[in-house]
């Protein structure tokens, strides 16, 4: 970099919206940061930088990532993490499991599922069965809605707060 470039750089940088600029020539390593970026990054930080970011990602996708890979046991399997109904990332509302249970889409293997994608259901209508301790708990819709997607697999364990259906309120 020649001197003139340096001076121009300082001027440009000073009047720009940039808050940080790092340059490391030779192998070219450039970092530019706006204030907002720094703020966001630091909100989550501390030590748990990686963890915080993983978590951030997790709440966006509605799935749990191991909060810190380095701290995680071998063969770690997380079964999903609660998603708040009405999460802004979702296009519809999310109906979650209120208990730990086995998720059944139909009353029995021989009968059709209570709902399919595209089904329009009325408040009070059964969406699925959540079997726990040999009790067949019917999960009913709390409001009229259309099923946008089914989030859990038939016959699988669902946790408290796990997403079961994505719905559009009608």
């Amino acid at each position: 970099m020649d001197d003139k470039t340096l001076i121009t750089l300082v001027e440009k940088f000073g009047s720009s919206q940039l808050a940080e600029l790092e340059l490391n020539d030779g192998s070219m390593h450039l970092v530019l940061r706006k204030e907002s970026a720094i703020r966001t990054a630091l909100d989550g930080v501390s030590i748990g930088g990686a963890a915080a970011e993983a978590h951030q990602a997790a709440s966006d996708t509605g799935h749990s990532a191991a909060p810190s890979q380095a701290h995680k046991a071998d063969h770690a399997v997380h079964l999903g993490l609660p998603v708040n109904a009405g999460s802004p990332a979702a296009t519809g509302e999310i109906i979650t499991s209120p208990i730990v249970a086995t998720f059944y889409r139909a009353a029995s293997p021989d009968t059709p599922p209570f709902v399919e994608v595209g089904s329009k259901v009325k408040a009070g209508q059964t969406l699925c069965i959540l079997e726990a301790m040999k009790m067949m708990n019917h999960l009913e819709a709390e409001f009229d809605c259309e099923i946008l997607s089914v989030k859990a697999e038939n016959g699988s364990l669902v946790e408290y707060g796990q997403a079961l259906f994505e719905v559009k309120r009608l």
Binding site: G48, S68, D74, H75, A76, V77, H78, L79, V100, E159
Partner: protein
């Protein structure tokens, strides 16, 4: 050997159980409330299942969710930890009904020991001393005075149906007795619809001493020495040590004889604690905690026994790896409970090291201590050849410990272990009350 276990608990004890399971080659399934999703036990376990929202009553205490999680993740056993459902016989029964092993004694034994009157009678039956008192109800003032003088003042009047201090009166002389008898009986009647009262000798400032027991459910009973837990803030233990400065070889043996008889006859299984009040050279049965206890590491340090491992082996295999006669007590161990005084995010954690120091905690750098649960966040445990050396070590370890982001009682604990009276070893359960005002000014 079982392959997978669900730990129906959180925090430090869940982490503790995971550590031993991993060493035993047993896979672990953690459970967590939504407030605990980043808790260390969730990170360390092989799997984790969310069981409810933050309040314990809707998560860690919901039996069905815990059992479903265990069944559906292929667990063969449930470890209840301490607190929560660890002494809940109904939970133990429900677990067993689903074909799972409950890591604890038989539900009927839990029931028996959970009923304080039955437990007291059982202890008496097997020759353990109980606090001297009238056999039955007392109502006549003259008879009461005679009984009290036989017991020796001070005495305590208790409601037969009572609890929570209602209908209780401490009486220090014969002159005060008749009036207090009337008041206590009236209070008992008002509170429990039963005015029956009885009189016991009142122990002033006794020591709280307990024996660590592990039994195989078939009559083999290990006694891993005693613990002294006299430093208590409103019945919450703060500092524990093993051995007890107030127990000698003879008392230890007398305690153990009765305890072994009782646990053997009960076919007790797993880890348990029998608690005594000690006053001078006398000791009196108080109660049994039919589970592992928070302060078990001090017994692990003086005996070299992994209590959680033996507990799991006893409950899953019906066997122990240690002969009762081979247990040796070496040196002195002390535990300081580190309690959070505020919830919040731990911005920095530095753990003490060096010889004879153990730090059991669910804290890590950047973790959050939620406000919903028990305030204990860590246990700092040390071991040394003598009480004095162990205390010097604890003092040094507390100086090294750094927890930032939340307030803890660490500096208060350091103040106490350096306090002249604590150093003397001559104190009872009233000790903390005496120093409480001073302790609260320590920051």
């Amino acid at each position: 050997m079982i392959q997978r276990i669900l730990i129906a608990n959180r925090g430090e004890i869940a982490v503790r159980v995971i550590r031993t399971c991993r060493e035993m080659g047993i896979e672990t399934v953690a459970v967590y409330s939504t407030a605990d999703k980043d808790n260390l036990h969730v990170k360390l376990a092989d799997q984790a299942v969310c069981i409810g929202p933050p309040p314990s009553a809707k998560s860690y205490l919901v039996k069905e969710n815990l059992i479903m999680a265990a069944l559906r993740t292929g667990c063969q056993a449930i470890h209840p930890g301490v607190g929560f459902l660890s002494e809940n016989a109904d939970f133990a029964r429900a677990v067993q009904k689903e074909g799972l092993i409950f890591i604890g004694p038989d539900p009927d034994v839990i029931d028996l020991l959970g009923d304080k009157v039955q437990a007291r009678n059982t202890a008496k039956k097997y020759g353990l001393p109980i606090t001297p008192g009238t056999e039955g109800a007392v109502s006549d003032p003259a008879a009461a005075i005679a009984a009290a003088e036989k017991l020796g003042f001070p005495v305590i009047i208790k409601a037969a149906a009572g609890g929570g201090g209602k209908g209780m009166r401490i009486v220090r002389s014969a002159a005060e007795l008749p009036e207090n008898l009337t008041i206590a009986s009236r209070e008992a009647l008002a509170n429990f619809a039963d005015g029956t009262v009885f009189i016991e000798r009142y122990l002033e400032n006794p020591r709280h001493v307990e024996l660590q027991i592990i039994a195989d459910g078939k009559g083999t009973v290990l006694v891993l020495g005693e613990r002294d837990c006299s430093v208590q803030k409103r019945h919450q233990k703060l500092i524990e040590e093993s051995p007890s400065p107030g127990v000698d070889e003879s008392m230890r043996n007398r305690m153990a004889e009765g305890a072994v008889r009782m646990f053997r006859e009960l076919k007790y299984r797993g880890a348990g604690t029998i608690e005594f009040l000690v006053s001078g050279k006398d000791f009196y049965f108080m109660e049994v905690n039919a589970r592992v206890q928070v302060e078990h590491p001090v017994s692990e340090f003086v005996t070299g026994v992994d209590i959680i491992r033996q507990q799991i082996l006893a409950c899953t295999e019906g066997k122990l790896e240690i002969e009762p006669s081979s247990v040796r007590l070496n040196g002195w161990s002390i535990e300081c409970r580190i309690n959070a005084l505020t919830p919040g995010k731990v911005s920095r954690l530095e753990v003490p090291g060096g010889p004879g120091v153990r730090f059991d905690s669910f804290l890590y750098n950047g973790c959050t201590v939620p406000p919903h649960y028990d305030s204990m966040v860590a246990k700092l445990i040390v071991h040394g050849p003598t009480r004095e050396r162990a205390l010097a070590r604890m003092n040094r370890a507390l100086q090294e410990l750094v927890i930032e982001g939340i307030k803890t009682n660490a500096s208060q604990q350091r103040w106490i272990i350096n306090h002249e009276k604590f150093r003397s070893g001559q104190f009872g359960t009233a000790y903390y009350g005496e120093i409480e005002k001073e302790v609260e000014h320590v920051h």
